[in-house]
Amino acid sequence: MTKYVIRRARLLGEDVVDIAIADGVITAIGTDLPADEATEVDATGLVALPGLVDLHTHLREPGREDAETVFTGTRAAARGGFTCVHAMANTDPVADTAGVVEQVWRLGREAGYCDVQPVGAVTVGLGGTQLAELGAMAESAANVRVFSDDGKCVSDAVLMRRALEYVKAFDGVVAQHAQEPRLTEGAQMNEGLLSGELGLTGWPAAAEEAIVARDCVLAAHVGSRLHVCHLSTRGSVEIVRWAKSKGWDVTAEVTPHHLLLTDDLVRGYDPIYKVNPPLRTADDVAAVREGLADGTIDIVATDHAPHPMEDKECEWSAAAFGMQGLETALSVVQHAMVDTGLLTWAQVAERMSATPARISRVGGGHGRPLEVGEPANLVLHDPAATRTVESTDTASLSRNNPYTGLELPGRVVATFLRGTPTVLDGHLQEAVR
């Protein structure tokens, strides 16, 4: 196996070090390491972070291979600095059996750009009425620990309670898409001043917060782990903060887009900004940033949701919910959190690598610290670079990038998956087999 010496990287944005990699493992960290026969990578000015772990990715395969495949989605992930993504269950067929999750897991290994850890559905067919075979998925080769009906809410309180209880048997976690369905019938955008003006059915913050509050209380009652997906409102942050203050085992994620974009963008009715949960107000953005900074929100997860052009090039209410996120996540986090002084790079590493891996109990050496003897999953990020986002500059099959035209800081220069670069000099490499 090829050996690498990464020269003069800033480890977690701090000390300038060389990092030696051999046989998929970090073999040395220090200054002026001997080159031996290793390939040298100049990382002057670059920040070295552990390989990023995304707890919330839609890879669309099986079922919507016109939007994304495991192959294209994991290539996009590699370009974004990820070494592991969690594939959401809302595929067709739904990932609600051992067979489907194993298929997705295997497709990820075959693609060779990024490990794919499948998320299992909580209920059969995401139908919200009958528990899927959670145990079978947990025991499958995919070793599923995160269960979610994402895209739909497990709104039935009894079913949610049962799911929370049941996954304790194998240390699983239920990742809830918090959306009270009756309060969001036909909902199109954040309910507020603008929804009234634009005549789009409002999506009240209360519809999210009611479920977040209920589930926190339920999880505490049955002593289970709860993970709240893509939390988007100030109220949700406050509820999670309260739950944590009680010592309850609740974790939460925020998406890059909820850290940056606001509902004002809906004004032009361009469905590129249509997403679930919807873009919220500037006050909500401030609140989720604070929450992520103070640890109330544990992680950033992309909710990368590719859609083909025709599902976005239409009138707002006919368009699909969702936006891409894998290839811009680190830039957005730098812009919203690091450049604003809210997070250090070490804290970014925690929130985008260590903690998501811990929540999902994923193996494979993901979310490990950059230390000698650890698996060589790492990303080199150039924080001084800037780029104007172009929707065509992507490895994804889709183009629904909400940052198109925006200038964002930072660029992923290299991603190493178990010692082999999937991205080098900003370019995708041969797959790791």
Binding site: S195, L200, G202, G268, Y269, C314, W316
Partner: protein
């Protein structure tokens, strides 16, 4: 004026008065032996209706025809392609046909915006009602009707400064209410929206209007009362307990009409639910200008089409 008419908010006070004054002149055309002007000869106006509305379509059709435009009626309802695809594809078809103006009615809020801004067509886009968003030509014809009754000497050149207009009913789902609130405010009127709290949108307090839950409070000072249609299906969605209760609290019956000032007019954008939001004898009374609204609608739409595509359009440039 802007190139498109998507929202009543697109109109400045001067724009709005220009439309109304132009409509005032064009109103006379209906009384002439030859009810046609040559102005839009060679222009193509497409009526693109994704939602049934015979009244509005006929009104626009008459307006375009009286200006000698070629009119193409395109009813996209029931098309088998997915709705999204059909808007883009239809727009590109219209572009290929050389539509100078596209009058669009759509069940989705913002569809006219998409048509105007997505680059699928060059024509001027006129919003003929989109979802629960806006219906700007309806607001213009309402303002026109108010001005001709409440203004001095027919109102030419005037705005509606100081006039009190009460709009009653399902504001939440009403594109007519949204457009009227914006336009009437631009024209200086004091607008009061009256509805049960369930039928007022979140954030209505930031609109340039007053709101009230009580119809009786605003009757005595009203110069015009506009009753909005209440869809019966709202009843099943618990916006109010029953049609009877709604009618009792928010319907305009004779007793309430008699409390209006002598000069006040009663309006309704149609189609009416007689006995629900408006009493039959109120609708047929001397104060009701509902039929006149329809007549004025053609003149106002002529004015809008003339002002948008009667002069140089963007492909022709200015001389």
């Amino acid at each position: 004026m802007k190139k498109h008419l998507l929202s009543a908010g697109d109109l400045t006070r001067d724009d709005a008065i220009r439309v109304l004054d132009t409509a005032q002149e064009l109103l006379g055309v209906a009384q002439r032996p030859i009810k046609k002007l040559p102005t839009l000869r060679g222009r193509t106006v497409v009526n693109l209706f994704f939602e049934d509305s015979t009244r509005t379509r006929i009104s626009f059709e008459a307006a375009a025809k009286r200006l000698s435009a070629d009119v193409i009626n395109f009813s996209a309802k029931g098309s088998s392609v997915s709705k999204g695809e059909s808007l883009k594809d239809t727009a590109m078809t219209l572009q290929a046909m050389g539509a100078d103006a596209v009058v669009i009615r759509h069940h989705a809020s913002g569809a006219p915006h998409r048509l105007a801004t997505a680059g699928w067509t060059n024509g001027a886009v006129v919003n003929a009602g989109d979802g629960t968003h806006e219906h700007p030509t309806q607001a213009l014809l309402d303002a026109f009707t108010m001005r001709s009754h409440l203004g001095t000497d027919g109102g030419v050149g005037q705005d509606l400064a100081g006039k009190n207009v009460t709009i009653v009913g399902d504001v939440l789902h009403s594109r007519v209410a949204r457009s009227n609130a914006l336009l009437l405010h631009t024209l200086g009127a004091n607008v009061t929206l009256v509805a049960p709290p369930t039928l007022l949108p979140v954030g209505v307090d930031a609109w340039p209007v007053e709101t009230s839950y009580n119809l009786d409070d605003s009757l005595e000072k009203a110069d015009a009362v506009m009753m909005l249609r209440v869809q019966r299906e709202r009843m099943n969605a618990s916006y109010f307990p029953s049609a009877r209760e709604y009618s009792r609290r928010y319907g305009l019956d004779t007793a309430r009409m008699n409390r209006l000032p002598e000069h006040a007019i009663v309006m309704h954008p149609g189609p009416m639910n007689r006995g629900m939001e408006i009493g039959a004898d109120v609708a047929d009374s001397g104060r009701s200008v509902i039929v006149e609204q329809v007549t004025n609608g053609v003149a106002v739409r002529m004015a809008v089409l003339y002002l948008l595509v009667g002069g140089a359009t963007n492909d022709e440039g200015e001389a």
